[in-house]
């Protein structure tokens, strides 16, 4: 898919919708359209984080492998969610596995190009970072609530 063909996707996607059209053009230059089958890895823990995904359809799990318990899914992400933010900050390494649970369509961004264009267009970088931070905040909240292990507690004597 050509960058100009990606532009409509960006304009519709809630993550980018508010950005001006010229930004969509810049972003589209870094992006590609990608499809994953169930079980495909989007990235792997410890590898260099070279990509940033914006989900259009399907479901992606953030996984970790725990020796005695096997594969554990920490969260699932779906349409409208972003996947991966390790690419934004050094050391640019993924912290978990991301795996398609169902057939998934996503926009994949070249992280190196993206970072370079942010350097050139700080307003765009700022705008995307804010969006990203909003999702990070939401996930931190979720993680904190999960830490409480709420459903394990009962008030019955």
């Amino acid at each position: 898919m050509k960058p100009q063909e990606l532009k409509p996707f960006l304009a519709e996607h809630p993550f980018f919708a508010e950005l001006p059209a010229e930004d969509h053009a810049i972003l589209a230059a870094c992006a590609a359209y990608s499809v994953f089958e169930a079980g495909d890895l989007l990235f792997r823990e410890g590898e260099e984080a070279t990509s940033f995904f914006v989900l259009r359809e399907g479901s992606v799990g953030i996984d970790i492998h725990y020796p005695t318990r096997g594969l554990i899914t920490l969260m699932t992400l779906g349409k409208g969610d972003i996947v991966g933010w390790s690419w934004l900050l050094p050391p640019y390494r993924s912290q978990f596995d991301a795996r398609a649970i169902r057939p998934t369509k996503a926009l994949i961004f070249d992280a190196v190009k993206l970072r370079a264009s942010f350097e050139q267009h700080p307003e765009l970088g700022y705008a995307v970072t804010r969006k990203l931070l909003a999702q990070v905040t939401q996930r931190l909240f979720t993680a904190r609530i999960q830490l409480l292990d709420l459903y394990g507690i009962s008030t019955t004597p």
Partner: protein
């Protein structure tokens, strides 16, 4: 056979455990039958009983059976404290004492003609089950019906067969999420609040009932506010130390409310101010 003598509110009636079903590693369901003939227990969805285990003690447990099916009394219990742990040791044929039912009911009538969002966390599904039975029996009275259910792990999911059957029937939109995905789980992993994001509802004709840990109810209510559902149409089921269930003992007060007689079900505005008091 003479008339059934009404016992005093503090006196348990003997019931026999007919069946014990182990739901998860520490959750089990009892089917109880009154020992005195005709001593059945009419209840409304949302009410609870005080279950007395001889020699060990008494605990409040929500009723999780079908209010319109006559006969046995059904309770799903988590073995968490001394009494409930001892209860887990009991077998079919053993006797327990039952007082009740106590408390008020879920607003199943208020919800007629509306979209219904039932949000439950953990064992909160058990007190909600009578409501689900009611809705299934009278499905035509309700519009869209969602059951949003958050569990700890896939193996902690209660009543899995029933959930599947409800979902398959197409009568209820059942959505489940877990805190930690394991054992090949391919469903959602995340908070029950996240499930609210994706459902379709008419915020001006919607009633929500929430049952689960207090913090879960708090955040679920907040997520529903974001969907423009008015607080007075959000209902929660509260828990506090409950000793008498009759309003005598004073233990279960939350602000001006007695959970046992004013609740356990409250509309959100009634309880909101007291939910966030810091009892330090």
């Amino acid at each position: 056979m003479g008339p059934i003598e009404q016992p005093r509110p503090m006196t348990p009636r003997p019931f026999r455990i007919e069946t014990v079903k182990q739901e998860t590693s520490n959750v089990f369901t009892w089917t109880l039958r009154a020992q005195k003939e005709g001593d059945t227990l009419a209840f409304q969805p949302g009410q609870f009983t005080m279950l007395y285990l001889f020699g060990v003690g008494e605990v409040p447990i929500s009723i999780s059976g079908d209010a319109e099916a006559s006969g046995d009394l059904i309770h799903t219990i988590r073995a968490a404290g001394t009494v409930t742990q001892a209860m887990q040791q009991k077998q079919a044929g053993d006797l327990v004492g039952v007082r009740g039912p106590f408390g008020n009911a879920w607003p199943i009538e208020e919800a007629e003609g509306c979209d219904v969002v039932l949000a439950v966390g953990g064992l909160g599904l058990a007190p909600m089950r009578p409501t689900l039975y009611h809705i299934l029996r009278h499905r035509e009275r309700y519009k869209r019906v969602y059951l949003l259910y958050g569990a700890r792990t896939p193996s902690d999911i209660l009543y899995p067969e029933e959930l599947r059957a409800w979902s398959d029937s197409g009568k209820i939109d059942v959505r489940i999420t877990v805190d930690v995905g394991m054992d090949g789980w391919t469903g959602e992993v995340g908070l029950v609040t996240d499930l609210i994001r994706d459902i379709q509802l008419d915020p001006y004709h919607c009633v929500s009932m929430i049952c689960g840990p207090e913090i879960m109810m708090h955040f679920t209510a907040r997520a529903l506010f974001h969907r423009r559902i008015a607080p007075q149409h959000i209902h929660v089921s509260m828990e506090r130390s409950m000793r008498c269930a009759t309003g005598w003992c004073g233990h279960c007060q939350l602000g001006p409310k007695f959970i046992c007689k004013d609740g356990p079900v409250f509309d959100y505005p009634t309880i909101q101010a007291w939910l966030h008091k810091r009892e330090r």
